[in-house]
């Protein structure tokens, strides 16, 4: 019974994930192979929410890349969106983009520049304004299309007064046009929901893939209704394809298929790829211009199945099976803050703030009803026992 239930749920999850993202198998996929010739692709452009910007479906992710020739090649291939950052490589990413645009002869209005910095609670408005000016100098431009607050991990990171104050001052001076946030970590959904509620952020630049965060499609759809544009990265769900034998047999490309999958969601305007080589530019612009094929869908399904029980999605499904009312998703998330991000004190504070009966104190003596309630087959009880010990350390 258990294995039947598990397999049914797996199929349900995959199908739901597909449907929610617009990956209607009959409508989107094609049995034609992905075009590999540089002549056959046609890179599309999509509106970035209500910003008035139109971005190429593939964006140039310039993390750790300071080669102007690659940026010029990307412009030549039709890529118009460039995601860079002030602090990385001491500003060399931004300088390289300026040089790439200059040598390509690009008109400024034809390029969409995203850049930003990490802003944490307590940040100073003056310092942020200085960072915006430094980015403008390095980019050799008068304005930044989207200035983002980077690596947002908690709701507190979204609600930083200095960020909004600095952004308003810079916007009034014509230096920045739209405010964005980047996020890729476990508390991401809370951050996005807070940003939707606050109505200040105009662009999301986030991790998005075909196996994580089942509620993300719904969040992005709500964001789109509010005019928030979404660009995504890390579509490859962990990039563990090498661990699955023959996954890419028959000339399939797992990374390309994941990009095509992300683009089946109409709320996604663009997928940022780290463009460290000319070949990457060729491959991914080609992928974006081609339809997702049936073999690619099968490959993604297989990957999702094989990686199925390797991580918690914080979906809370298992909570219905707990007779004690344990807040499993929250406990798991706090445990991740603790061990994944090194935010021990904050994680413990969050845990202490849970109503006592929602904590995982009861798990050690329990038979683990929740194990059968996780549609992803995770060993929930074992993890909760460890999480409780970890998070209640101060009280022990």
């Amino acid at each position: 019974m258990a294995s039947l239930r598990k397999s049914v749920d797996r199929r349900t999850f995959l199908k739901l994930g597909a449907a929610a993202s617009g990956m209607a198998v009959a409508g989107c996929e094609s049995s034609e192979p992905v075009a590999s010739s540089p002549q056959t692709f046609e890179l599309g452009y999509r509106p970035l929410g209500g910003t008035g910007l139109r971005v190429s479906e593939i964006a140039f992710g310039s993390h750790h890349i300071d080669r102007p020739d690659l940026m010029r090649a990307a412009l030549d291939a039709g890529i118009n969106a460039f995601c860079t950052s002030g602090p990385y490589l001491d500003g060399r990413e931004e300088e390289a983009l300026a040089e790439g645009m200059a040598t390509a002869g690009s008109r400024r209005e034809d390029v969409v520049i995203l850049t930003g910095t990490v802003v944490r609670p307590g940040a100073s408005t003056t310092k942020l304004l200085a960072e915006i000016d430094a980015s403008l100098r390095r980019l050799q431009t008068d304005y930044i299309d989207v200035y983002y607050t980077g690596e947002v991990r908690t709701v507190e990171d979204v609600r930083v007064d200095a960020l909004y104050e600095a952004f308003d001052i810079a916007r009034q001076a014509g230096k920045v046009r739209h405010l964005g946030l980047t996020s890729h970590a476990g508390g991401m959904q809370d951050c996005l929901n807070a940003a939707i509620e606050d109505e200040q952020i105009e662009v999301f630049f986030i991790k998005y893939d075909f196996v994580s965060y089942p509620d993300l499609d719904e969040i992005l759809s709500r964001a789109a209704q509010q005019g928030i544009g979404t660009m995504v990265f890390k579509t490859n769900a962990g990039n563990r394809q090498r661990e699955i034998e023959d996954l890419e047999a028959g000339g399939l490309s797992f990374p390309q298929a994941t990009v095509k999958w992300a683009l089946t969601n109409p709320a996604v305007a663009s997928v940022a790829i780290s463009m460290s080589s000319f070949d990457t530019i060729r491959q991914f612009t080609a992928a974006a211009g081609a339809a997702l094929t049936a073999p690619e869908v099968a490959m993604l399904r297989r990957y999702a199945e094989e990686m199925y029980d390797k991580y918690c999605r914080f979906c809370g499904e298992c909570e219905q099976h707990c007779p004690h009312g344990v807040a499993v998703a929250d406990v798991n998330r706090f445990a991740m803050y603790f061990s994944g991000y090194g935010r021990e004190k904050q994680a413990m504070r969050f845990y202490r703030a849970l109503p006592a009966k929602r904590s995982a104190a009861a798990c050690e003596a329990c038979v683990g009803h929740c194990d059968s309630g996780c549609p992803f087959g995770r060993r929930v009880q074992t993890e909760l026992v460890a999480a409780h010990r970890q998070l209640s350390f101060l009280e022990a």
Partner: protein
């Protein structure tokens, strides 16, 4: 000897390994032992950590940067944040990485070192640029960042760099992979080891590059070792076809080495690329053609 490009194994499990406690492995303790005691530093305390990361969960710590570290052979790291008094905006974050090899430690260090940074004698080499400092020694790479450049923070930052790298046991000589670089005209501290996509060409894999300045004009010299002469010839063909597609002019050129070609790039200047045995080598920049030819010939003569 060179590191091969590794597909970035960025883990779902590590991310999300709910409830999983980072065990304090012996190796973590070794990295922790590099951290100085705070007893001599009045008013400083540990605000966060030390926490450890492995290849499975590095990407949760480094937003987008994990693939680069993995490509250089990253094995583990510890992160700690020190705070001055009770001001949360007067802190210093120190990240200590075990890159698995001296080449990996030098490689990641040299890939982020700004060209104009002030070089410091921390470990094998270090630099400080504003409120950020980095350095390497042995297999260890250290990156330290202060919230801003207040003197008291910079004093702590410099002290940390010096103390951490002094405690590392390992070589502080440049990696042997740099030896073929000709000494004449080499801009000090411009040598880099790149783990993948040398000069934007996936076909080259990793390799070395360095800046040369002659009579006030500069060019970048680079080379990559392939598995065999056949592989080098195939890589050269791919590099040429990519240059034909993405740069303006490509033409045959009988320079030093075999089956060479020359190209013109409107931004980065003209360049030459050749094969020499199982190496592909090239030069690109503002130097006149004759100087580029001489530089390339000097390099290929020194290749093993």
């Amino acid at each position: 000897m060179k590191l091969r490009y590794m597909w970035c194994v960025v883990a779902l499990g590590g991310v999300l390994g709910c409830g999983q406690q980072e065990s304090s492995k012996p190796a973590d303790r070794e990295l922790e032992a590099l951290l100085p005691e705070l007893s001599s530093r009045a008013q400083w305390s540990i605000a966060e950590g030390p926490t450890s990361h492995t290849p499975d969960n590095l990407w949760e710590y480094l937003d987008g940067g994990a693939p680069q570290y993995l490509a250089y052979g990253f094995e583990k790291m510890i992160h700690i944040r020190y705070q001055l008094g009770d001001d949360p905006l007067a802190s210093i974050a120190a990240d200590v990485y075990d890159m698995g090899s001296e080449l990996g430690a030098f490689g990641i260090y040299s890939s982020i070192r700004p060209p104009t940074a002030a070089i410091r004698s921390w470990g094998a080499e270090g630099y400080r640029s504003g409120a950020v400092a980095a350095g390497w020694k042995g297999t260890v790479f250290v990156h330290v960042a202060a919230d801003d450049d207040r003197p008291e923070l910079i004093e702590m930052l410099e002290g940390l760099m010096s103390e951490i790298l002094d405690r590392v046991v390992g070589s502080d000589s440049p990696p042997p992979v740099l030896r073929p670089l000709p000494p004449d005209g080499l801009v000090p501290h411009s040598e880099r080891y790149v783990a993948a996509d040398l000069h934007g060409h996936a076909a080259l894999g990793g390799g070395v590059l360095a800046i040369y300045e002659i009579d006030g004009r500069r060019s970048e010299l680079f080379f990559s070792e392939l598995e065999s002469e056949t592989a080098a010839a195939a890589a050269l063909t791919t590099v040429r076809s990519e240059r034909e597609r993405w740069t303006e002019e490509v033409m045959d050129h009988a320079a030093a080495g075999e089956a060479g070609f020359r190209f013109e790039d409107p931004g980065a200047g003209s360049g030459l690329v050749v094969r020499s045995g199982r190496y592909v080598a090239g030069v690109q920049g503002d130097l006149p053609l004759a100087a580029q030819e001489a530089l390339l010939a000097s390099l290929t003569a020194r290749l093993p």
